[in-house]
Symmetry: C3
Subunit: 441 residues, 3 copies
């Protein structure tokens, strides 16, 4: 789509949620992991929507800070069958049936032996757990507790046709330039197979945010959006870009768990008081007054790397149902029925709202001593009345804090008004040269 | 009165409240506005009590920051009569009947036409509203809803014998020197016609405070008290004195709504933590534990100018029923029955208490390492007892914070004692050279 | 005992409480005051347990800041008898019967006359009050209200064989060197006769703490423990050592009222945020979640001197039932039945816990950018699971704050874990060179 078309699309946005849900449905069956064909297939799918996306690769064995890029995992097939050739489990049915990064095996074994390699959840008998073993050679199968109970005391044929070989770790990024070299960074992860909220909602919402950012005609900030495998990917990305990111990133979000339609959640950066935190808290307060605020101790995604001591990027998270906090998390129940078009749209709009605040947040200073005479500019009623109208009050309250110290976001909190409510007043006062923007770069 | 007489007067103060109420009664009928004869008459009346008062004038058209001094308003008569010559409304009965700054008119018109120029309050059917139009040429009459309902569908003769001409804006001030050049500033406004709490209580209490300040034999601070029309007056005063005020004013109050006998109110400066704020909060806490604290968002008088960005004077407000918060506000119901001698006395004493704190607030430092041996100075019981007496505890608590950093007001909050309770201990410890005053200028 | 024996003793600590109770029982009958034979006898008794203790003396009349060292008080006998020679009161029965520092007298007097010199507590009819008059020449007797009511309207023979003469004020101290010259200071007082919680618990617990500190093979801090008479002793000690203490003392406690088995109490330093305050609050939170926090306004022991303005040592107090807050305080009811072996042990262990925190509190910084790969070091599970195990979470939380700014105690508060829970993780991470200690001296 051309930029003009995109603008129309986002202004009228009736299909944004449905479009995201469709992308998610397309991506769901792919067998992603931290490396391998599933990752490339996913990134290439996203590139169809965002041709400007760059896909990168880092060779197996490369050192990234304290870590080494692991071997690439190739998985061709994996199943368990009985003597009759009947498939008891098969990843063709659900990618979660196989422990991620399983080594190859082809062997007959008793149920007793097999049981050592099976994982199920007694408390959630109809859920297949999601389990991986990236950094130790292992194999295993995951199944529901109900499936497990149906297994008989016979011999089973276990087949995993996989390979761990020197290859690459893939990730993608895009840098969307703005007037300023300062950056807002969005990060999401593409390593989870066949789960919907955690995690396909993140890549899907991030893709839609890229399209929206590209549609903006006059961006202030430069935007960097990255699609990486969780943990090893963010560590690798930081090891390649740390100095640049430390110099330029002023705000950003880790995008994860933004697809269901339950209430909103917020997880702060380690610092807790960055522009990202402030913008997210303000946005969520006006979207969902009952949003749940977590603390740094509840962290669990790539903010662990972005906010690590010495890294200290201002990255927080706006989520819907947070990872680790909903029963379907990291099981086969986090499926296409757990997320909705409306849920994805809500996740998209919440992050969009925070970005709009960041984009528009400036410091202003009055150019006039004392209150300006707004009446002669048509900005103030000329007939005195017993009670000020609401919009005059907002404008006067804003002006009273317009001291060149507090930014617009701080003032909106001080005067208890939503950020976007104040913006038109700012524009008007700028037009009348009553205030001026303080420029800091 | 001589200073000695004044001292006796304030020490025995039985008639302070009644004297203020009498002044207020004398001033009530004068038709004040932001300019004109009513202002001069009011200032000259006050000058009879305070001969040292200087009355100033600024010519029409003078630029004061973003504003221009408006034309002077002369009002000779204003009424509405019917064909029979019967006066339906007349400002001889109540100054509020005329919209302030009304332009002249002499015209017969139908009720339908007249209605466009009438103002009443359906929710307060027996109240005449107070309405002005200083900066746009208009005319209008105000009346009670009951009066309005009695009007008939006939023609009325509308007469306003007024004039808007080049003239002056008047204000008055007095500077009462103290040992220090640092100033405490009190400001009140003299532009409201025929309303009692808001606003004649302010000028009347300010006048009494001047008399009290003049009676003090050994003032530390210099006191500046100004009588101005609201908004345009404070802007004009600041435009003439800004540099001086920024250099010298350390505290001060806007005096308004100090005449009724309901509970007390506090409105902070924009900063909220100035000496004025701290002294007012401490004073009010001990006068009326249930006083109501407003925020900067509730402001509405000349603190809007004094605390504007870049002006930043430390001006807060101690009030009784705050403007905008009582039903009688800005109507004919804010009359001589709404204020009382006791109410005015309470308003006077509250500001007086805050000024006494400011005047007496110093930083002290112990001259002795560890606790001094107070017993040998007769300041401590020589017989040990199970529980310290209250007054010894206050003295020891004060001394324990006497570190040259916290001022007396801060210590009184730390040790949970009223400021004036501590003062005698300070005097005693100074006399014994156990502590010394840190002088900062 | 040798150091090795001491180590065993403290590791197995079954008899620590009983041993302290026995010491307290031995010391109880001695007639202590701020000077005199009772003090020396007490210090010599303690020296039997701590031969390294230095006993010092300051001559009568020496100037210590604002005070002079008083005359030494010698008390040989004191009693009241009737004509039949029957002793009505005798300090042989209870040292508290005599007002401390009583001047000599040998006189017959009527009950009416005698009554002026008698002290009892009508509200606590079975308690002898503890009363002194160090700085004014007086005499007097203390008795229970019940005893007083039994007195008859006859003449009594009052005998006090005492003497106030030039002599010395005694105190003792010990400096236990550590790797650092920085000091932790413990102070307790030895001037109270025949009361158990306030005050023999302090010297007894301080003695046990010295033995424990001597048993530590690798102390970081230097420890200074002082045994002084209250008030005059701490003032004298400060006048002799102020510059050194200000340069070196980083934390410390006044040890008093640590012998009963009721709940714990905390009294902060004047500053309230010193390392001593933080360590005590952390320790108490994990010992007794219902411990009572007092404020500086509740102070009453030698912290009055240690935290005085210009002295500003970081001394707070960990107590059980605080002086002044329990009915038995400063009466004969604060006796050997009020304190227990368990109570003393609890007091000892609470201060020991705070000292262990201070001793072990350091600032660490991660040596690795982003999270380290703990799995390859065996510190992290290699199989992903739905929920982190508690001990992995603690380690990761600790690491996430390991930024070279927050000390270990601050981090333990941030991650809501007890200090001693974190220490083993710190050791492990140090061993793996994942973190390093920042050394500040």
């Amino acid at each position: 789509m051309h930029k003009a078309d995109l603008k129309t699309y986002f202004n009228n946005h009736s299909s944004i949620g449905a479009d995201m849900y469709n992308m998610l449905t397309d991506l769901f069956p792919i067998n992603r992991s931290i490396t391998g064909e599933g990752v490339r297939e996913t990134l290439n799918y996203i590139k169809r929507f965002v041709p400007e996306l760059s896909i990168h690769s880092i060779p197996t064995g490369s050192t990234v800070f304290d870590w080494k890029i692991p071997k690439e995992w190739i998985i061709r097939s994996a199943y368990i069958e009985d003597k009759s050739g009947k498939k008891i489990l098969d990843i063709k049915e659900n990618n979660l049936h196989l422990v991620g990064y399983s080594i190859p095996i082809d062997k007959w074994m008793s149920l007793k032996e097999l049981n050592k390699f099976l994982h199920s959840l007694p408390d959630q008998p109809d859920a297949i757990p999601y389990i991986t073993s990236y950094y130790e050679a292992r194999w295993g199968f995951c199944l529901t507790e109900l499936q497990r109970k149906r297994l008989k005391d016979i011999d089973y044929h276990v087949v995993i046709d996989s390979e761990l070989k020197s290859g690459v770790l893939n990730y993608a990024d895009i840098v969307i330039p703005g007037r300023s070299k300062k950056e807002v960074m969005l990060s999401t992860y593409i390593c989870h197979p066949s789960m919907a909220n955690n995690e396909l909602s993140g890549p899907v919402v991030a893709t839609m945010l890229i399209k929206w950012l590209l549609s903006l005609k006059n961006r202030f900030y430069t935007y960097r959006v990255i699609f990486i495998p969780e943990t090893i990917g963010s560590i690798a990305y930081l090891s390649e870009h740390l100095e640049h990111l430390k110099d330029y990133v002023v705000a950003g979000y880790n995008i994860s768990c933004v697809g269901d339609d339950k209430s909103f959640s917020f997880l702060p950066s380690r610092d807790g008081k960055t522009l990202s935190d402030r913008a997210a808290l303000h946005a969520l307060k006006y979207i969902d007054p009952n949003f749940k605020t977590y603390t740094w101790l509840d962290r669990g995604s790539d903010e662990r790397q972005y906010c690590a001591p010495g890294i200290d990027l201002p990255i927080s998270s706006i989520m819907r149902s947070k990872y680790g906090e909903y029963p379907e998390y990291h099981t086969s129940l986090d499926d296409l029925s757990f997320v909705t078009a409306g849920g994805l749209l809500g996740g998209f709009e919440a992050i969009q709202k925070a970005i709009k605040i960041i984009e528009r947040n400036k410091v202003y200073k009055t150019r006039i001593k004392c209150e300006p005479q707004l009446g002669r500019r048509g900005l103030y009623p000329t007939l005195s009345i017993k009670k000020q109208t609401e919009h005059v009050k907002i404008m006067m309250d804003f002006l009273s804090y317009c001291d060149g110290k507090s930014d617009l976001l701080a003032i909106s909190e001080l005067i208890e008004q939503e950020f976007e409510t104040i913006v038109p007043f700012v524009e008007r006062l700028l037009n009348y040269s009553i205030i001026e923007e303080l420029v800091d770069e």
